[in-house]
Symmetry: C2
Subunit: 379 residues, 2 copies
């Protein structure tokens, strides 16, 4: 059985790397407010973040261990992590929902120094705006200069193991689709059965399933599953972000329900070729843009670009930095976990998307999902 | 089969109520950035918000229909809602990820008027802090004066129907626990089987399952399910926030695995009595604090208060306003959907929590979950 959690030294290492970058950037502390950022430095893993009721804060000082400033309901779980200094308030509180305690703690830890918060692409501050305004008047808030992004983008071996395990669970679930999917079933029923298959294969949870459905392709990949029947000739796309021990996989499979249109087979072939072209350049020294261009060369440009990118980072969140787009020149380095996700226009505005997961190694990339070559036909 | 989605007039009504309050508060527009707030005024329902990669914006002007300012990947789905004015950019964009288009649109819509954003308890702004700073320099950002909270807190009949349906799905799933839960199974396995039972009963997804486990009670209700075996004499608590068509239920059940300690039975009895006491005062004219005190009178104060509250609002999110705490004096009004969720200390720091769901009607409350009287014993 796979080991859950991390050794303390994993967190010590993350904090130590962060502190090195904080000194370089003249920051006295980092302030983190979102689920993945708080978890990254603590191991605090809970679905309770689904509730928007309470803010949660973690302070990573320029030296020493992180300090948690959290609602008292989280004390017991935070106390089971490697964190020692846990300061709590009884939340929700109508007058001061932790902001006073946070300001006091930041003043104590950072003195008059600058406090970095993640403020770039893919980030947000998870606290009420009124409190954030107050905070920025009381302490010296600064950018984190991408420190959290830079660290989280490169995965440790322990993190890679969890993502590989999540991928293997999804692989199993995808293999079972041919056993339950039939023409005539509703899309929403397939969706429910697929989620159950993910759970039965060992997923802790299935936060994300998207589907595409249509003859010759689909119009988008973000609509919820509808109570509509699957017809002979439809392409059925299932994309899953299931989780194991706090880490995601993110890849999809296209199924032909009945005999496929030759055009669809041909488009699927282009997508598989594009993934292989992306895999080829996915290595240290390349950039995110290089990977995009390698795939776009096969699929062509145009309509497919509506999706905006051809893959992205993967880890504690379904999607992470970098993005495979022409303008993202992030250097690819060993330890990055990535999705290769080209899309292509099939007919009259319809698209197909294909996605696989990889990790960058010393000499190229390791496949984390089972790379498909042929589209599965369910008749 | 239950009807998915809403009629356009539901959204027209929400916008019209918001616009009345905007005029009162001298606001030229509302700016919304989070999944539930954007969905509330549009019907834009997708799990794609799991990806933190792209910001999404909705502008509700003081008159006229809302305007969506969103990544192009969302155009097709947004275009299927009642919204006509959809402005897109190709996201992610390394230089300007929609903030320029947002500022231009706000200047066009609000002229020099004030733009309200939800900034109070349970809210946050979902966009990078650097962009939010830029925005607040370019346009006149103000509080929304609780307009969104006030509207979302009171549910329409169509919303109530969806929540009732979600509750009935969870009721079915809870009824099936005795068929699969056994002493000796791991907690994580029970968790997976319970999620499957929710899906089989008709849930679209199961974003939240929390569990408590232990002899005589549990230490907290937010820890993830562990790979530990359930022992004879354990109390097993399952709490689910499953979704149907974008709406949550949120209630729990305590199961005694083997013969229960008389003290546990007695504590469960207090919790059931507390729920009934809460139900009694849950009516127009009471306050959230009144409901808290009615329940606290039965359970006593003390340790149980670590959880911070004895229930809350429920709807598009697992937890919503108000909170059943001594300081929340929100008036209870017809159409509020609420959870009654008292907790109690059983032995040496261990607790039990019990939760049911209700909706406030003209003459008291309607039960949405099947109110339990006895704890289920699984032997």
């Amino acid at each position: 059985m796979m080991q859950r959690g991390f050794l303390d030294k994993e967190f010590q290492n993350r904090v130590s790397l962060a502190q090195g970058l904080m000194v370089k950037n003249n920051l006295s502390a980092l302030l983190l407010t979102t689920e993945p950022d708080v978890r990254y430095f603590t191991g605090f893993l809970t679905q309770f973040w689904q509730s928007p009721a309470r803010p949660w804060f973690l302070i990573v000082p320029a030296s020493g261990k992180p300090i948690a400033v959290i609602p008292s309901i989280g004390y017991s779980l935070m106390n089971s992590t490697w964190i020692d200094d846990i300061r709590t308030w009884l939340a929700p509180n109508m007058v001061d929902d932790g902001i006073g305690l946070l300001i006091d703690t930041l003043n104590e830890v950072a003195k008059d120094g600058r406090i970095g918060i993640p403020d770039g692409l893919e980030s947000h501050v998870r606290m009420p705006y009124a409190d954030m305004k107050k905070l920025s008047e009381e302490v010296d808030i600064s950018s984190d200069y991408g420190i959290v992004r830079q660290l989280r983008m490169v995965k440790s071996e322990a993190e890679i193991n969890k993502i590989r395990h999540a991928c293997s669970i999804a692989d199993n679930a995808f293999n079972s689709v041919k056993d339950f999917a039939e023409i005539g079933m509703t899309q929403s029923n397939i969706n429910r059965k697929f989620q159950s298959a993910c759970l039965q294969s060992g997923a802790d949870s299935v936060p994300y399933v998207s589907m595409g459905l249509g003859a010759g392709g689909y119009y988008d990949v973000i609509s919820p599953a509808a109570d509509i029947q699957i017809k002979d000739g439809d392409i059925l796309m299932l994309d899953t972000g299931l989780m194991w021990d706090g880490y995601f996989c993110d890849f999809d499979r296209n199924f032909s329900m009945g005999k496929p249109d030759p055009r669809v087979i041909s488009c699927h072939g282009y997508l598989v070729d594009a993934v292989m072209a992306g895999l080829e350049v996915a290595k240290s020294g390349s950039t995110a843009a290089d990977i995009f261009h390698a795939m776009a060369k096969i699929t062509g440009a145009g309509k497919a670009l509506e999706a905006g990118r051809f893959g992205h980072g993967l880890g504690m969140q379904l999607t992470e930095w970098p993005s495979f787009i022409p303008d993202d020149h992030t250097e690819i380095v060993e330890g990055m976990v990535l999705t290769l996700e080209p899309s292509i226009e099939t007919i009259d505005g319809r698209i197909m998307v294909h996605e696989e997961n990889i990790v960058i190694r010393k000499d190229g990339a390791e496949k984390l999902s089972t790379f498909y070559k042929e589209m599965v036909i369910i008749e």
